[in-house]
């Protein structure tokens, strides 16, 4: 099958280009990450990130035939019709909207900055008990669908609002984490967290486009979390 990969080495290339490779999959429905390993055996200069190869570490977010996802849990048959059969090439590009360091490796700095801005850690100024802080199963259930985020950036880099204002709009990943702590019964910094979000950009640049939901490899729903924060801000304003 044919694989077309975005290549750019800042040391030698004036501009990026797409390079074609031929890979023998022996008809198997391999994961995209397996294809990259086969290409790297041919051409060791190809750069991409990878670690767990099972969809939990979030290293290998990339754009596959136009859609963001994790290479390690995306089989060829799911990329686009015809790719597995070799009728169409597999087209791999870096996550959009972030500066490219080399090939499929993007500079995640802006993405991590926005994550750090939401103070992604539990805050509770009451003295900790000798055992755990008690939390009912119902309270705990409120952070399901939030804590599972793997920071792969597939969502934020598919979000037009993030493309336009990556420095001011926090983006779906950071906002999901913001709500993860707002929703945690053990956290009591709600007011401080909300006041930091109450400006025209941080949260309100979300226009409900929902690309984040359609690409999240963990099936999470940042748009819903953003909706919950909006409601909290609204109630607080009344």
């Amino acid at each position: 099958m044919k694989v077309s990969i975005y290549r750019y080495n800042p040391e030698t290339d004036r501009e990026p280009s797409m390079k074609e490779y031929e890979v023998d999959t022996q008809g198997k429905d391999l994961m995209v990450l397996d294809i990259l390993a086969l290409v790297k055996e041919q051409d060791q200069s190809l750069a991409y990130r990878r670690s767990c190869r099972e969809g939990v570490c979030g290293s290998d977010g990339m754009n596959m035939n136009g859609k963001n996802g994790l290479a390690c849990i995306t089989p060829l048959s799911q990329v686009a019709p015809g790719v597995l059969e070799g009728k169409k090439p597999l087209i791999l590009r870096p996550l959009p909207g972030l500066p490219v360091i080399r090939d499929l490796v993007v500079d995640m700095g802006m993405f991590y900055n926005q994550y750090e801005k939401v103070q992604p850690y539990l805050q509770n100024n009451t003295p900790a008990p000798a055992i755990e802080r008690l939390q009912s199963p119902e309270e705990r259930a409120k952070i399901d669908g939030l804590y599972e985020c793997i920071l792969c950036a597939c969502c934020s880099t598919s979000c037009p609002s993030f493309w336009w204002n990556p420095d001011k709009f926090l983006g779906p990943a950071a906002l999901l984490q913001s709500y993860r702590f707002l929703a945690d019964s053990r956290d009591n910094a709600t007011e401080e967290r909300l006041s930091k979000l109450d400006d025209p950009f941080s949260l309100f640049r979300c226009h409900g486009i929902m690309n984040c939901v359609s690409v999240c490899p963990k099936g999470l729903n940042p748009t819903r979390a953003i909706g919950h924060i909006r409601s909290m801000l609204l109630e607080r304003g009344i």
Binding site: N9, P10, E11, T12, K40, E41, Q44, S45, A47, Y48, R49, R50, S51, C52, R53, E54, G55, V56, C57, G58, S59, I73, P75, I101, R102, D103, V105, M108, Y112, E116, Q119, P120, Y121, L122, N124, A128, A130, I131, E132, R133, L134, Q135, S136, P137, E139, R140, I143, Y147, E148, I150, L151, F181, D184, R186, D187
Partner: protein, 591 residues
Amino acid sequence: MSIRTITFDAIVVGGGGAGMRASLQMAQSGFKTALISKVFPTRSHTVSAQGGITCAIASADPNDDWRWHMYDTVKGSDYIGDQDAIEYMCNVGPEAVFELDHMGLPFSRTEEGRIYQRPFGGQSKNFGEGGQAARTCAAADRTGHALLHTLYQQNLKNGTQFYNEWYAAELVKDDEGNVCGVIAIDIESGETVFFKAKATVFATGGSGRIYASTTNALINTGDGVGMALRAGLPVQDIEMWQFHPTGIAGAGVLVTEGCRGEGGYLINKDGERFMERYAPNAKDLASRDVVARSMMMEILDGRGAGPDGDHVFLKLDHLGEEVLHSRLPGICELAITFAQTDPVKEPIPVVPTCHYMMGGIPTNVHGQAIKLSGGHEGEDQFVNGLFAVGEVACVSVHGANRLGGNSLLDLVVFGRAAGLFIEDQLRQGMTQYEPTDANIDEAMARLNRWESSTGGESVPALRKELQSVMQNHFGVFRKGDLMAEGVAKLADLRKRIANAHLEDKSGPFNTARIEALELDNLLEVAEATAIAAEGRTESRGAHSRYDYPDRDDENWLCHSIFDPKAKKLGKRDVNFKPKTVDTFQPKARTY
């Protein structure tokens, strides 16, 4: 010496659970600490831990006792775990786990609002007399992910200085062998830098990638063990590799023991629950070494499933959709993605898969690295400036076989312990050892070798060959002549790897360079494993030999110590002197 020097009080190499628990401790103390990680910390392999963290927090059973956990761990280790270290881990454990809750780790909960605990293999109440315990604290089946993200978040809060996507390549020592820091490469730019520190903490994780089939992440290449061995430092019990019973057949992806804790069980091709024959009491919750061997016997006796009869099944469908989706959601995802199997409807094809390195750099409970000495208790000498925590270390709390859920506890307890100790030492005034230019040049030699290579075999081909040697010669069952052959093949590979070729010598984000440096480490770990496995002439825990089928307490109730300079195996005493409880005496190990 023409490279830049960056100076800290302490550096931690590795951003998994152990490294980040250590760095957190030191960052809180205000000492200048850096954490160097070859990946962004939340991409570390701790993230893949599923089932939980075993600890007697007395939630599932209000009468639970850390001494029972200690008994299980000593028995699980097949009696070569150090009892003072196991005592410390099990005793301090609850405090360390409650801290994790206070930091925000989203544990699953009981109706009482406490942390949910599930049964895991090898657990008992009342020193083996009270039946199965439920002692593994869980965040669904994503406990490692929850733990790793929580620790990263706390490090952010406390201002740890991260060097993410920096690769530590070599230890720097002075002429007396004192550790002065490490040489590291900024992967993004390609720049090589000397990190100078009074304390260097290795938290580099395991080396599962020495095997062709492993549950380990692609990054688990034994960098810390490789650096230690090249520096002439010993490793302990390195022949002890855990094969996890349930790796997804073909893919190698882990399926947590928590599945069996929740009531799942293994069946052969005839649908028989075969563990009843091998471990009549604990059945599917026997220790991992026992279950893995039983599965292999089923397969070797022709009761394996599939066209090649090469796997068995993990049956979960009887647990019902609700339990599976609430307690084991990650497993359902993984089974569908990697086995095209929905556990709600059909069993998952599984096979024992390389999972965990029980051996590593020998340390005491403070993480201080031990160097070769007389080999008897009380005679340990330490490598000044070097510490190791987590999977790369061999404290040893796991001995010849680790119990499920004990690795996460090991990480937080000993990451924390090393942090506390170093903090204290720094306060008292620790020595900064100064390397000469020649010392730095020595540490740079390996990098320079690759940089000047002009031809030779390729890294991916050599890596594949090494992995297949380990898979075929040092698997679940081992045999002297087969291992001798493996040792010879590795000796040949050593010569070839020394002449291998790095074609791409570019600077920015050159992953070919990193993979070449990792290959050197894989080789060091593989060779140490091979020589130690051939040298331990008995069967104990995960080390099981056809030619020496029995445990030999007379000769081998001890640690093995591999000396990389002589390439010889020595012995070191196991600690049988816990401080607050009576010694657990070795006895026959049945489940």
